[in-house]
């Protein structure tokens, strides 16, 4: 057992911090330029398997990157593009998968995974969306909700029930029969509900093997959840820093409010919850190579605890800031909004507790 960062890991964390901080400060972010930055710094190779010249494995490194991303309150679609879509395309493989992946790696295409459906909350593995084989292709019918960071020019990756298992379909932007209802997530980022009304797709739109896609996607989603946990830990840590700084400068009754014991104790309680959240995130990361059932329970346990901590830390930070915590101009509120979004992303607290219990407990 050893929790210390290696020199390379230390450098990676610092590099990622600089990168994400820089991106956040850009007045008019350019997604393509950001993508090139990821690529140059090796962040894309990092999360893709060794087969594609990635560094391979790397769950611990991804944790560090996502913590940095969380601390910067990053807005670039790193999770959606790289951790979800990139990994899925890389692992689905085959001619179609590889072609789609090279377009992603070349920065020509962005992808968004459409995971959730109306009326099934956070269960994604038995979709009502269906694809039927027709002459020279497929017909896709169904609806997906809460598709994050899917720009109008993004390709969609849509899981759908097919004969023999779970199909994964690449839907090009502007395909006929795709109806998008654009929305906004609690943190202000784009999030869409998308209907597929008999969308006609070419043969090569299908990737992966329907018999194996579910297990593969389950692993990638679990990895993404662990990454979300790491992002939340980074965000909470930074939010506590911001809050403690604020308390050291804000004076009332002739003294900095950070000298009041009642308030110090609330800050200490935030720290305790954050450290517990960090610990269970590390636990989830340590279970990534375990069999699916154990891995999934570990990840759900982590998400449940991190969610609880996120809500507690977010609410407390706003409270300790007083009215300033409610203003948009002050950073505390933005972190609270992002933490609230992360709480919901890939399953809320109730969902993950149910998953833990379904799996027999942690």
């Amino acid at each position: 057992m050893n929790f210390d960062l290696s020199e390379e890991q230390q450098m990676l964390a610092e590099t990622a911090t600089r990168l994400f901080d820089g991106h956040v400060r850009q007045a008019e972010p350019d997604a393509k330029a950001q993508w090139r930055d990821y690529q140059e710094l090796g962040l894309i190779a990092l999360s893709l398997p060794a087969a594609l010249d990635g560094l391979g494995g790397g769950e611990e490194e991804i944790m560090l990157v996502m913590q940095a991303y969380g601390a910067a309150c990053g807005t670039a679609p790193y999770l959606q593009s790289v951790l979800l879509s990139g990994r899925l395309l890389a692992e689905a493989g085959g001619e179609n998968g590889e072609r789609a992946l090279s377009a992603l790696l070349a920065g020509e295409r962005q992808y968004a995974l459409c995971l959730f459906e109306p009326d099934s909350r956070y269960r994604w593995d038995e979709p009502a969306t269906r694809a039927e084989q027709i002459d020279n292709g497929w017909r896709l019918t169904g609806a997906k909700v809460a598709v994050c960071d899917a720009g109008a020019d993004s390709w969609l990756i849509c899981p759908a029930a097919v004969e023999g298992g779970l199909g994964l379909f690449l839907v090009p932007p502007g395909a006929a029969g795709v109806a998008r209802e654009e929305g906004i997530a609690p943190d202000g980022r784009p999030s869409a509900n998308i209907r597929f009304d008999g969308v006609m797709l070419a043969d090569d739109a299908a990737i992966g093997d329907p018999a194996m896609n579910r297990a593969r996607l389950a692993r990638i989603v679990d990895q993404a959840i662990a990454a979300c946990c790491a992002e939340a830990v980074g965000a909470m840590e930074k939010l506590l820093d911001i809050t403690v700084d604020y308390m050291a400068t804000r004076e009332q009754f002739g003294t900095a409010i950070g000298t009041f014991q009642a308030l110090q104790h609330r800050a200490a309680d935030m720290l305790v919850e954050i450290e517990q959240a960090r610990s269970i995130t590390i636990y989830a990361i340590s279970m990534m190579a375990a069999p699916e059932a154990e891995r999934h329970v570990a990840v759900s346990a982590a998400k449940a605890l991190v969610n609880r901590a996120s809500r507690f830390v977010g609410c407390e930070a706003v409270q300790l800031h007083g009215g300033m915590g409610l203003t948009s101009e002050y950073p505390a509120g933005r972190f609270f909004q992002r933490l609230t979004t992360l709480e919901n992303l890939f399953g809320d607290t109730h969902h993950h507790l149910c998953e833990v219990e379904r799996g027999g407990g942690v």
Binding site: N2, F3, D4, A248, Q261, A268, S279, I280, I285
Partner: protein
């Protein structure tokens, strides 16, 4: 970063477990499982078994029985002791006074006390707190005045766990008054059989005897029982409180308790099938188990980070203390809730003289443990003190000007 136990650590866990299950008698482990108060002889027997296997004082210097194991291995040992229902080595002996004697005592004191402390041939209790010196320990008043070869000790200690079972007490006493109240405190070993010592039980809400008041009325203590230098006792006590943190989170203990909650809840009828099937009850248990899993990793992080640094307490130990107490308390709260109406007939009874368990059976032990468990957020620096430490040492928050 290496987030898995290595081969050596896994093998070590297996060896320890095998030894404990083979040598520690079943009736002792059963009583621990049921949280009953153990007779003194059983605790002595169990510690001697641990000591024989090299498991009582691995954190001590090697020449006095220590093992030079990594902090991670010592943590594994502590977890296995707790989760296999083996009584912990008496902490006053092995975790507190032993390391102080080994570090600051004379050769003669080491020879005289250390082997006996490790083997529980001598049972020590801790004389720190006083009626007006609790969280503010340095305010202590018990005085020791040098008279030739002796100190004359007068004063009172309180909350002294097992003083009624102990052979000796290690006490912080005031040998002089300095500018600061931390000055002039000395660390003295006192034989409990010395004339002038009176031990009075403090009846507690859990119904069995563990804490006491200890009165010193002109007690003459040989000067050779002073540890280290006169007036340096405060530093020694700081050192002592910084010792052996590898099981501060009580992870093994909580795991055992939560396992028992599961077993009790599976065996107890709820209003709709077994209690364990009740979703609301199940949810409480899930939270506690998740919190414990996080605590397990927090503990490993604290233990692993201290491994190479030596010296200095990681302030995050305070997190272990607070969360560790939390989980223990919530687990026993669930046990009480599983008892349900049975709790109504499980209050403690007056012990009959020969009852080794002081009149406490397996059900009343739960009620007793429930009350007793409140101590976890009070002793060894209350949760409020721990929050002060975190705010100052980790978050750098200042005091009032």
């Amino acid at each position: 970063m290496d987030l898995q136990f290595d081969e050596e650590e896994r093998l070590f866990r297996g060896e320890v477990r095998q030894y404990l299950l083979e040598y520690v008698p079943g009736h002792i482990r059963q009583a621990v499982y049921e949280e009953r108060p153990l007779p003194r002889e059983w605790m002595v027997e169990s510690q001697r078994i641990l000591n024989r296997g090299g498991y009582a004082v691995p954190h001590w210097p090697v020449e006095w029985g220590g093992k030079d194991w990594s902090a991670v291995k010592r943590m594994i040992l502590a977890e296995e002791i707790d989760s296999n229902c083996v009584p912990k080595p008496l902490p006053f002996n092995t975790a507190l006074v032993g390391p102080v004697i080994a570090t600051f005592g004379s050769e003669e004191q080491k020879r005289r006390f250390l082997p006996a402390i490790a083997n529980l041939d001598i049972w020590f209790c801790q004389g720190f707190s006083e009626p007006n010196a609790g969280s503010d320990l340095a305010s202590l008043k018990t005085s020791a005045v040098r008279e030739g070869d002796h100190y004359r000790v007068n004063g009172q200690k309180v909350w002294t766990t097992y003083a009624h079972k102990a052979d000796w007490i290690f006490a912080l006493v005031r040998t002089s008054r300095g500018e600061r109240k931390q000055q002039g405190i000395s660390f003295l070993l006192i034989d409990m059989a010395t004339p002038g010592i009176e031990v009075r039980a403090i009846p507690t809400i859990d119904g069995y005897r563990h804490v006491n008041e200890v009165y010193f009325d002109n007690v003459l203590v040989p000067a050779e029982n002073l540890i280290g230098e006169e007036g340096q006792g405060w530093d020694y006590s700081r050192y002592l409180l910084g010792q052996e943190r590898s099981s501060m989170g009580n992870v093994g203990y909580s795991r055992r308790r939560l396992q028992r909650v599961r077993e009790l809840a599976a065996a107890t009828s709820g209003e709709n099938g077994p209690m364990i099937g009740d979703p609301v009850f199940r949810r409480r248990l899930s939270w506690a188990e998740i919190e414990l899993k996080a605590l397990e990793f927090t503990q490993m992080r604290v233990v692993a980070s201290g491994r190479d640094q030596g010296g200095g307490v990681d302030p995050k130990t305070s997190i272990l203390k607070m969360k560790g107490g939390d989980v223990l308390q919530s687990a026993v709260g669930m046990m009480l809730d599983v008892l349900g109406p049975e709790a109504m007939t499980s209050g403690h009874v007056e012990p009959v003289p020969d009852d080794p368990f002081q009149g406490i059976d397996a059900r009343s032990a739960i009620v007793a443990a429930y009350f007793s468990s409140r101590k976890f957020s009070i002793f060894g620096g209350s949760n409020e003190i721990q929050r002060n430490i975190l705010a100052k040492a980790v978050l750098g928050m200042g005091g009032r000007r």
